[in-house]
């Protein structure tokens, strides 16, 4: 029972940081999502050890492990686009695939070249 309360409290921390992020976003009229601001803030407080990792890790690890579960309802929404994908829409899946391949190739290639240079200068 104590463990259960602890996990609930640890997950509540995430809600708190999301709320802070969203407040900052609307206050400064930023276009970047509030959740990202909350995440960066949380990251900074972890790095500066204001929040010790030990204090929050169990609940968050539990949530991350089964994160895909939370995206099932929105993914099932593809049902409303079945006609779109039967027609012209299928081409967009091909575009998504090609674009992904280009990203892997360029990112890995640039990183590889930079790493070789780094080794060369040392």
């Amino acid at each position: 029972m104590m463990k259960f309360i602890k996990i609930i409290l640890q997950i509540s921390v995430l809600f708190l940081f999301n709320l802070i992020g969203e407040t900052i976003q609307s206050f400064f009229h930023l276009t970047i999502p509030g959740s990202i601001i909350g995440m960066l803030l949380f990251f900074v407080l972890l790095v500066t050890k204001v929040i010790p990792e030990k204090l929050i890790k169990d609940g968050i690890d539990l949530l991350i492990k089964d994160m895909p579960l939370f995206f099932i309802p929105v993914t099932v929404g593809v049902i409303e686009f079945l006609d779109f994908f039967k027609g012209k829409g299928s081409f967009i899946l091909f575009i998504t695939f090609i674009s992904t391949m280009v990203v892997i190739l360029t990112t890995s290639f640039i990183a590889d070249k930079l790493l070789q240079k780094e080794v060369g200068t040392k």
């Binding site: 995430l14 809600f15 940081f17 999301n18 969203e22 276009t31 970047i32 999502p33 959740s35 990202i36 909350g38 995440m39 960066l40 949380f42 990251f43 972890l46 790095v47 990792e53 929050i56 890790k57 968050i60 949530l63 991350i64 994160m67 895909p68 579960l69 939370f70 995206f71 099932i72 309802p73 929105v74 993914t75 099932v76 929404g77 593809v78 409303e80 686009f81 012209k88 081409f91 967009i92 575009i95 998504t96 695939f97 090609i98 674009s99 992904t100 391949m101 280009v102 990203v103 892997i104 190739l105 360029t106 990112t107 890995s108 290639f109 640039i110 990183a111 590889d112 930079l114 790493l115």
Partner: protein, 229 residues
């Protein structure tokens, strides 16, 4: 009251199917047997077969909207655990991810623009390379369809996991850091699972790439889209 029970019923069905799919995945692990794939596919088939509208199913799925933000915040923890790696290879990591993220956004947007798709679809494809909670948050911000976004993100993930190693071969990429950066920037968590099979270092770099790229993409996309569409 009746809506509450319908919602609860679909919620339980979704959770049961998900944990059952995890069992299947542990027996046959492959990018196409991912629990999100099997569960979503089964539910879509079930809704078509029973002729139940998506809005009825979503009576139980609405809770996701409240969890999206906190799930994004949670990504800070795995990133924190990789902080030494980020410090050590800062230049390579940030240069690679920044260029990769831009290539991903621009190639996706321009190819769909040239093919004559609607703005709402182009907005959904812009954030396809980042992890689902962030992609959905971006789509929410720019007013794109969340369901289409989820599908594009899934294809970017599965495509990268299946053919990423082929790209490494074509590009002659051997360094585990370079491999991890490419697949993490393009194919988020699904790609990271593949990178982990390659080596522990590639997996770790892929994991940090997926989080850093999601921050970069969420900074670029909402600002850039109004100029492109």
């Amino acid at each position: 009251m009746i809506n509450f029970f319908i919602g609860l019923g679909f919620l339980i069905l979704t959770i049961v199917l998900y944990f059952f799919s995890k069992k299947i995945y542990s027996i046959i692990p492959s990018p196409v047997t991912l629990p999100i794939m099997i569960t979503s596919f089964t539910l879509v088939m079930f809704l078509i077969w029973t002729d139940i509208p998506y809005s009825t199913y979503m009576l139980g799925g609405q809770w996701i909207d409240h969890l999206l933000g906190p799930l994004v915040v949670a990504l800070a923890l795995p990133l924190f655990r990789q902080r030494h790696l980020i410090k050590q290879y800062a230049t390579v990591i940030f240069t690679g991810i920044l260029i990769g993220s831009l290539v991903g956004i621009l190639s996706g947007v321009f190819l769909t623009l040239l093919s004559g798709f609607d703005d709402s679809i182009i907005a959904a494809i812009a954030s396809k390379s980042v992890t689902t909670p962030v992609a959905l948050s971006i789509s929410d911000t720019v007013g794109a369809s969340m369901s289409l976004t989820a599908v594009f993100v899934m294809i970017a993930g599965i495509g990268g996991a299946m053919f990423g190693p082929v790209m490494w071969k074509i590009g002659g990429i051997k360094h585990p850091i370079a491999r991890g950066l490419g697949i993490g920037t393009a194919s988020h968590a699904i790609g990271t699972a593949k990178a982990l099979e390659d080596s522990e270092l590639a997996g770790a770099v892929s994991a940090l790439s997926m989080t850093i790229s999601s921050v970069i993409v969420s900074m670029i996309v909402p600002g850039l889209l109004p100029f492109l569409l």
